[in-house]
């Protein structure tokens, strides 16, 4: 059977299976890990096919998997798997502390599969309208992952999440419709199919394309958390349970970004790169600075990381804006790097929250003495986030600098450097606040987590460092291929 259909069906089935599971935690846990293993292996096998040069497609090109999609699919696979494994641990703690009931845990697990399903759907869709539908579906699927508790804050976050995302995405749908109607009749074949659109983007009306791109920027930008339409993001990431935040910021934002990138590709091939680049530059710079200033004043560790997600979305946008083969390469690489890093970051906040019982970093301190391993993981996450060399994110930032230099746009380099410097300083001061010195507040759980509980985090950390210093050929192949597809001309 076709692998594409498999990867569309299996996660859904898993979700259903989880729904009908008996309420027994050990069983749920083991099944959750097992099923997510299966799903991820499926996704990865699909990706590996693409790496070896295959262009998968099904339903007469209704869904397809190109190298661009493969990158994001692999993210869903790897990050999703590790986070899901961590989720079982996290939920165990939540149960022990009595924050959630077993039933909610079960639903959580089930929904996480549905969520994975919608995300992979959004990645493999070739039909842009259906891609939109899938992305909207990711929102719907993840609402109850976020507001798992029934208290005021989590309800509020869920409310803001769904409302703002739907508004934003409505614009994206308009973009879709416009694009379709602009393309309809002008190009041979179904004007809804991304492949057709990009194949002959040249003979589309440039005015229309520009309008489309702006709508798409607003729409998918809202979902991807580009300022100033990022406003839902910090609340949601801060309120949801750690694994959810990890999934959202690690994978979901990237999927939204993928949507934007697809439009970027179409429009760029239609009207030339200057327009899209300048728009993305503006959006990226705005995002970078707004988020960096917000970062300074954050003392809630999860909010801090949430603003980081925004900042790094800004970095990706900036990379797209700088453009050129290297710039696009950097942007795509950054998607992967940020996905791993942010997953690690949010998972470590799970540990931290368990240790201190609070998310306020001014009430922490001395973590290095309480739980050295967690502190180190937290440190790795921070280092990578602020772009310390040797960690994954630095690579893409370096490449963005390189692209700007080759492009001769030194002003951009300056802006980028300033923003990064602010972020760096803001972050490290918070990090030291939490990690060293004396314990300011009270310590709920004095000691290191069990090693088995830390395994997914360690794996993520290893990934981050590996991507920071080592060159993975297959991954590079994917990136190069997708850059080629984007810059067709």
């Amino acid at each position: 059977m076709d692998i594409l259909l498999l990867i569309l069906i299996i996660p859904f089935v898993c979700g259903v299976v989880m729904f009908v599971m008996p309420l027994h935690f050990k069983l749920l846990q083991s099944f959750h890990i097992l099923l997510s293993l299966i799903v991820s292996s499926l996704l990865l096998s699909a990706v590996s096919k693409v790496v070896h040069g295959a262009e998968l497609s099904a339903f007469d090109n209704f869904i397809f998997l190109d190298s661009l999609g493969a990158i994001f699919l692999s993210l869903i696979a790897i990050t999703g798997l590790l986070v899901n494994i961590y989720a079982t641990t996290y939920m165990k703690w939540e149960l022990e502390d009595g924050h959630v009931s077993l039933k909610e845990v079960k639903n959580y697990f089930a929904l996480s599969f549905i969520f994975t399903w919608t995300m992979s759907l959004s990645v493999v869709c070739n039909n842009i309208a259906f891609m939109w539908a899938a992305i909207e579906a990711t929102t719907l699927a993840s609402v109850f992952l976020v507001s798992i508790k029934k208290d005021q804050k989590s309800t509020e976050s869920g409310y803001k999440y769904i409302v703002l995302c739907s508004i934003g995405l409505a614009f994206a749908l308009y973009a879709t419709i416009l694009l379709y109607s602009a393309a309809n009749g002008k190009i041979d074949g179904d004007a809804m199919l991304y492949t057709n659109l990009i194949a002959n983007a040249g003979n589309l009306d440039s005015m229309a394309l520009k309008l489309v791109f702006i709508f798409a920027l607003i729409g998918f930008g809202t979902k991807a958390g580009l300022a100033p339409t990022h406003t839902w993001l910090p609340d949601v990431h801060a309120e949801g349970p750690a694994p959810t935040s990890a999934l959202l910021s690690g994978v979901l934002l990237k999927c939204a970004m993928l949507g934007l990138i697809r439009y970027y590709a179409i429009v760029a091939n239609g009207v030339g790169f200057d327009f899209v680049q300048s728009v993305m530059i503006i959006s990226g710079t705005l995002t970078l600075f707004i988020s960096s200033f917000f970062l300074i004043r954050q003392h809630n560790v999860k909010r801090m990381f949430a603003y980081h997600s925004i900042a790094h979305m800004g970095v990706i946008a900036f990379g797209l804006g700088v453009g050129g083969a290297i710039g696009l390469f950097a942007a795509l690489f950054h998607c992967a790097a940020h996905s791993f890093t942010k997953a690690l970051a949010f998972c470590s906040t799970g540990n931290i929250a368990k240790i201190y019982g609070t998310k306020d970093m001014t009430k922490m301190g001395g973590m290095i003495h309480i739980a050295p391993l967690t502190a180190v993981l937290f440190g790795i996450a921070i280092c990578s986030l602020v772009g310390v060399p040797g960690f994954a994110i630095f690579v893409s930032e370096f490449l963005i600098f390189k692209a700007a230099a080759i492009d001769g746009s030194y002003l951009l380099m300056g802006i980028f450097a300033v923003a990064l410097a602010i972020i760096f300083i803001a972050d490290f001061s918070h990090f030291f606040l939490a990690t060293f010195g004396k314990v300011e507040g009270k310590v709920e759980y004095n000691g290191e987590m069990k090693f088995s509980e830390n395994i997914p985090l360690i794996a993520l950390a290893i990934l981050i460092v590996a991507f920071g210093i080592w060159q993975f050929d297959s991954f590079t192949v994917l990136l190069d291929e997708s850059v080629k597809t984007i810059m067709k001309k």
Binding site: A129, E156, V163, I177, S181, R297
Partner: protein, 198 residues
Amino acid sequence: MVFGLRKYKLSIYAYALQTLLLVIVFLLLHFKYGAHELLLWAFTAFLMKVVFVPLFLLKLVNKLSIINEDEPVGGFFISPVIALSFSLAVSMMFYKVFVHFSIFKDALPLFAASFIFMIGIFGFILRNSFLKQILAYCLFENGIHLSLALMAYNSHELVEIGILTDAIFAVVIMSILAKRFYASYDSLDTSKAVNLRG
């Protein structure tokens, strides 16, 4: 009208009415241009939007047993005016563009589409009540739906289905959230929900 009305039930009825209009527009288009997909669309839309959603919302209203809406931004009389004027302006701006690309070249429905859409957006911006915002969501869903029908009727069926399902699920989830919201804030006034800031 959906926007302006103060009583939930009335506005829901108004919504149903409006959607009915939408369906009728579909049918008209169908007869006018012989676009047979629209028949299907009209049918589904009727089922989903004219029957299911209003009933669902009514159920919600009854469950929560609230009649009147909370004070919106700028009072009951100002906000509709603002909304109307702005959305007129914006839709004036847009619909020409739409006309330029649309498949069916008749301006009025297009204008209506973008107008409804804008009203919906402003519903979000100006109304504080959660239920009103749900209705606003349905509104701009309608708007999009209309313009979709006008501009891209001949696309894949799955698209229609997907979008419609999304809309329905969104409404359902929103109303569940609304229930929770009511439980935790014992009102539907979303302007109370400002715990998360900074």
